[in-house]
Amino acid sequence: MKLIDVGDVIGMSENVNTNKKYSVLPFGPQHPVLPEPIHLKFIVDEEKIIDVLPNLGYVHRGIERGCELNDYKRNIWLTERICGICNYIHGATYCAAIEKITDTEVPVRAKYLRTIWGELGRLQSHLLWLGLFADAIGFESLFMQIWRDREIVLTLNEKTNGHRIHLATNMIGGARKDIDDSLENEYKKDLNLLRKKMDALKPVFYKDSAIKQKCEGKGILSKNKARFLGATGPTIRGSGLKEDARLTGYEAYGQLDFKPVVYEGEDSYSRMLVRFDEVLQSIDLIEKAFDQMPEGPILNKNDKFPMGHTVIRTEQPRGEVFYYVEGNGTNKLTRCKIRTPTASNIPALINMLIGYEVSDIPTIVHSIDPCISCTERIVYVRRNE
């Protein structure tokens, strides 16, 4: 084992005085602020962060290799388990990729269903995040409140296909389940209820001075830096850039008159507001999708084995997810490359953290909504510009 001295690491950052004694803070893999294992080694001057080094690999399971070993149809379930929070979108993206290779036409209703469930997943994920964020900044009652309200979405999941987290409604060529009229009414009713509850929490997020004190100006990520470091999703939208894969109009987004939520603040607070607004936006989108959804079949079966390769990108709650799928005409894929949003947000995170206080770590780390289990494939993190 190589002993990495403080000095060695410090040498990499400019704002360092080597005569000084610094503290080293091993943050993670097991840490109450981070529900997921990631190791961040902080070099701290008193409480000020001088340098951060991330260490990944605690959730690395070899899913891409697993995708090559599995039957390509089973991969839907595996890709759904890349991440339990955004499971639906992972599965749907994988299906879309296979559909693209095998030239399968997806029925329009299935496209709408995918949009609805995708937004439902986003809703679930953002509510989860808002709660976790509240918990991380020490606002326990807000956490409880949001997670209580989040149960509405989970119950909807359960009503749809019998499970709270894993919706498991992805199928190559369409959807596995349909939403009938009675379920549609329940969707509308429950989402209305959720909107009311979120409206009640609006002043807390928009106006509470203590939350502002905790988040405003923390973790600044300027426009240029966000672009340069390849941030995606709410992280880049919080820096005032209008970046959203949904603008490409995949699935039914083209018909829904979708406009991304953008805040100009460049700090943790605006990233939080982006997510809060997207909660409300998702509810709107689902309702709109229900209004426009045509009747018709939901599944177009096509048992062709995938041949050729393709890329596909969709918008996850955390940003853009990218799939590269390559098949050779057998029932096994030759390559399945997945790049998830958190992987591209980590360089931005490292940049955001430097110069802030230890007490800001939870705010800033959570502000990119890290999903480590998404990220854990081969990762190369470039630290310096």
Binding site: K73, F139, N161, H166, A168, R176, L201, P203, A210
Partner: protein, 111 residues
């Protein structure tokens, strides 16, 4: 004035949202994906379920007319149910229970 105050007081005055779980069993939502059961009188050992299972929780031994099912490997995705031609597999809305050991359930055709 802290904005959360109203909600907190409201919560304090209204009954808790808690389902007192082990003491009050909530009625399961219809369609809940719970424990699996094989009706061996219908099963024809076609191995379809084994084939579709994403996590190899099912092993079919056609010679012994036996099915080994591992609930601690099962994802409860219900693909096997959907793919069973004989409709021999049924799900229940009672979720699987935790245990001290990893039980393997064996279903055997009575001969």
């Amino acid at each position: 004035m802290p904005k959360m105050l109203k909600e907190v007081i409201k919560n304090l005055l209204s009954p808790p949202a808690t389902v007192n779980y082990p003491f009050v069993k909530p009625t399961p939502v219809p369609g809940t994906r719970g424990a699996l059961n094989w009706d061996m009188s219908r099963c024809d050992q076609c191995q379809d379920c084994e084939r579709v299972c994403p996590s190899v929780a099912i092993k079919v031994y056609p010679e012994e007319k036996k099915i080994e099912y591992q609930p601690f490997k099962c994802l409860f995705c219900y693909l096997c149910i959907e793919n069973c031609m004989q409709q021999a597999i049924s799900g229940s809305d009672i979720v699987a229970e935790p245990a001290y050991t990893k039980i393997v359930k064996v279903f055997k055709t009575e001969t």
